[in-house]
Subunit: 539 residues, 2 copies
């Protein structure tokens, strides 16, 4: 049997069923382009029979110049008691102009009776006619057998008949769906093996993650003979998500020697996963397998240098194969050797005999002792290491800030921030309001800097976390604020610690902007705009 | 073979290796109590040989009254060329007072040479001596075979010898660790089967999630004969995390008919998972299998009532079995019966026909929709339920508040709060400074109330947590503040939600004081002190 496995990405269709995930047509086109570069074989773009946004996507997708991926449109089998040629849904697939149709039908007798409210025979005819009609129009047809595993467990003979009908009608693929996500790998193995022995058509698997087994179930199906895997980037999807292609791809190809995409394409995996997260505006978990920023992170300690020397025995995979990289987390247990290693990663020279270097190293240790936690704040650490190596840039200097928050009965809360900075030897003095004090500070800072550094409009804060370090005396205790910021390519994290939540937030905000602006050249601001900005102080 | 599987929770030890996870001794004690109620068999509390915080945990854990869970301490085998009786690390385990020791040793010849820098024979002796020593002191001994699967793949004979030594020395369990998380389920099945056939000792599995297969690998090991599963709540842990017990427990017991905990305990799974997330201040993904809030969420639509009528065919499991609930994303159907149940717990009568009751129930639903999460804030919920039942007391009324935070170069930050309340029909107007804005507000509030309610000096804030609810636009997004307060007898938690971190903190602070003062009788303040207090406004 061939070791080639086809990858069917449904991020744009099933992925958008996930809570909090919504993609514009523009977003979908960008993601489709990126998925093609990654090398997936099928991109399911949407359901043209269900909404106009999807129709627009298929129209505009014709302009994409894809290297290899085929765009496919989703839809259901024909309605009961209808001629397929008169079926609106099937005709919408044809009108979408795709060369591949993906249609789903019922496998479970219970759903035929209750959801379709028709006979078992009519359902078989609906499957046969729909596949046959689309094949007669020259399309490649993928048949998704909805609820297949549950149906098989309840009425094996009928479930088998449904997919036999699809195969007889000429389906190019029969895809077995674990729609409710409740199957165990042992069941998948048994059932796919049985199907592969009886059905004369290539088989695919479509798994959901309700038991945290979607990746395992997809692999089990491939072992049992499936040669197409359906899933989504980062496992987006309804309830607990679809099978995560970002884990399935490296598992199949790098661990189990199946062939899915080229090795060069595999090095784009991390980058693609992060891009899709960014476009969907969904926070990617640090600990996501293979592509998360903690996936190859080592906690520092006395043994860190030994770990790095023999990385292969402490890492299950070379991270570069999937485009990720090793990271050393600098935690309180960490020693000087970690900092040196970290500096090397950044191409900074630390001369440990140098007085300033020694002083900054001591400063980092003192900060850790106070409660700074650099393992979640790489950008703040990088700024300090730059200082230690003498390669620091003072992109701006803080003179003062002031925030006030006020609420009177039955009125909304008001937050106002005033910021005084020195940028390129000019004093800049701005005021801004915001939804809260941190937002007001962020707005005032940006207002002060945007004329010098127009690029900052590309970046935004993507996460904000606060934690009390010592809980003994909570509101008088130190708090640690972590701020995560992103632009279109990168994400970076900064930290602030203070007894004052606003002061800690301010430190993290200032670090975030300093980090973003390091290496950028300030422009001389337009004098008119500057006058306008200063004028705001009079309000 | 018995169907009973023992659950070994290492949230407090391996879980804290996760990036961004840090637990105080107090946090660990709370989690241990909750894990015992869930019914896990072993709770690994820490590594007493590695740090003083863990030593303190074991000391204080002696005061916990656990129903069934055994607390276990972690450590390594003895150092090379040492008598176990002289080994500091082993003796720290004994000194911790636990009845179960969990020690790890090397299985992989490569690591013996490179990390331990000793001979293969000495490593075998280290394992044998360490297990034998702890057994001779009367402890139950769990032997964790670190890097076992990688070691077995490289040098099968030697890896087998290491665990045979542990078994010969009397280990109660040999636990096979996939330390790097890189093994596939098919490998786990093959290797555990081989070990089970050769080693005369109960076997356990310790998996990591680097390939998104930790749950599948744990199950595969149980199928192959393992009868102990090590993992963490929510899959916390280094890199991509440890095996997630929140998925393994229901998979083993509800899907595969193994016996782990009682059915009643299983209904505490969701609640425990969320509690641990709250305490660790880690955002629980909506889509987490079994316990996430989207795990049984149905997107509303025309078929939603049909879905609900035949829920069993659209859900892989009845959510109540794991203490979760079905959610319909469009119309909020859930909640009311839970609130009635909660009110009964508090001896409050809710008359669901009463207009005010209906209105407050609607208010609670709206608040949940906004992002309030009452699971971690029982006191805030109780205040609302008291309002719903008409048994509310207005201990004080807020007229206005104002906070300002200011810093000038080289000076310390200053925080000042002004509060205007009505207490017993008197207007009270106070100002106070603090270490931060929340502390200043707390001080001003207390100053306003202490003459009426002298008891409030007995209470203090014991924890303060902030979380961004919607990460899309971080500093302009809603934040949720949880405040925990204590007096000498009780601890209670309150919540506030706002786009403004100060406003949210204020809500939680006010709720905390309202809760504490409910049922207390206000005294008439001494006029002299009152005059003095008012005078403070002139400063």
């Amino acid at each position: 049997m061939s070791s080639a496995v086809k990858i069917f990405d449904t991020t744009l269709r099933d992925g958008t069923q996930g809570e909090g995930i919504s993609l514009s047509v523009e977003d979908k086109l960008k993601i489709a382009q990126k998925l093609d570069e990654l090398g997936v074989h099928y991109i399911e773009g949407g359901w043209p029979g269900s909404n106009n946004k999807d129709i627009e996507f298929f129209e505009r997708a014709k302009q994409l110049s894809l290297k290899q991926a085929k765009i496919t449109a989703f839809g259901s089998t024909r309605r009961k008691d209808t001629d397929p040629a008169d079926d609106v849904n099937l005709n919408k697939i044809l009108e979408s102009g795709v060369s591949v149709a993906t249609i789903f039908g019922k496998s479970w007798d219970f759903h035929v009776h209750k959801a379709l409210q028709t006979s078992l025979e009519e359902n078989l005819a609906m499957i046969y006619d729909s596949v046959f009609y689309l094949k007669s129009k020259g399309l490649e047809v993928i048949y998704d057998a909805e609820h297949f595993f549950d149906g098989y467990k309840q009425n094996q003979a009928y479930a088998m008949q449904t997919i036999q009908k699809a195969a007889e009608a000429g389906a190019d693929w029969v895809v077995l769906c674990d729609t409710n996500g409740g199957s165990m790998p042992s069941e998948i193995t048994r059932i796919v093996t049985d199907v592969a022995a009886q059905v004369n058509c290539p088989i695919g698997i479509h798994a959901h993650n309700d038991c945290e087994l979607a990746v395992a179930n997809s692999i089990a199906a491939v072992h049992a003979g499936a040669r197409q895997v359906q899933g989504t980037m980062n496992g987006f999807g309804e309830r607990c998500g679809n099978a995560n292609l970002c884990s399935i791809l490296p598992n199949l190809q790098l661990k189990l020697s199946y062939t899915c995409i080229s090795p060069e394409q595999m090095t784009q995996l991390t980058n693609t996963a992060r891009y899709v997260s960014e476009i969907a505006n969904v926070h990617m978990p640090l600990n996501q397998p293979y592509v998360g920023s903690a996936a190859f992170a080592h906690k520092g300690g006395i043994h860190v240098s030994a770990i790095l020397r023999h990385a292969k025995t402490y890492e299950h995979l070379t991270p570069e194969l999937v485009g990720n990289k090793q990271r050393v987390l600098v935690s309180e247990l960490a020693g000087q050797s970690n900092l040196v290693f970290k500096a090397q990663e950044l191409n900074l020279d630390l001369d440990m005999q140098n007085a300033q270097t020694k002083q900054v190293i001591q400063e980092i240790k003192d900060l850790e002792h106070q409660g700074y936690q650099f393992e979640g704040a790489d950008a703040s650490l990088e700024l300090l290491l730059r200082k230690a190596s003498g390669q620091v840039e003072d992109v701006f200097e803080v003179k003062s800030f002031k925030v006030s928050i006020e609420r009177h009965r039955d009125q909304a809360v008001r937050s106002e921030a005033i910021v005084k900075l020195a940028v390129k030897n000019e004093e800049v003095y701005t005021v801004a309001s915001g939804n809260g004090p941190v937002n007001a500070l962020d707005n005032a800072l940006r207002k002060a800097l945007i004329d010098f550094y127009p690029d900052i409009q590309r970046m935004h804060l993507s996460d904000y976390k606060v934690r009390v370090i010592d809980e003994k005396d909570a509101t008088a205790a130190k708090v640690r604020v972590l701020v995560e910021s992103s632009d279109f390519e990168n994400t970076w994290s900064t930290v602030g610690v203070s007894e004052n939540v606003i002061e800690a937030s301010w430190q993290a905000l200032v670090d975030s902007l300093r980090y973003a602006l390091t290496g950028k050249t300030a422009v001389t601001p337009n004098k008119e705009r500057e006058a306008e900005r200063s004028g705001l102080l009079n309000h």
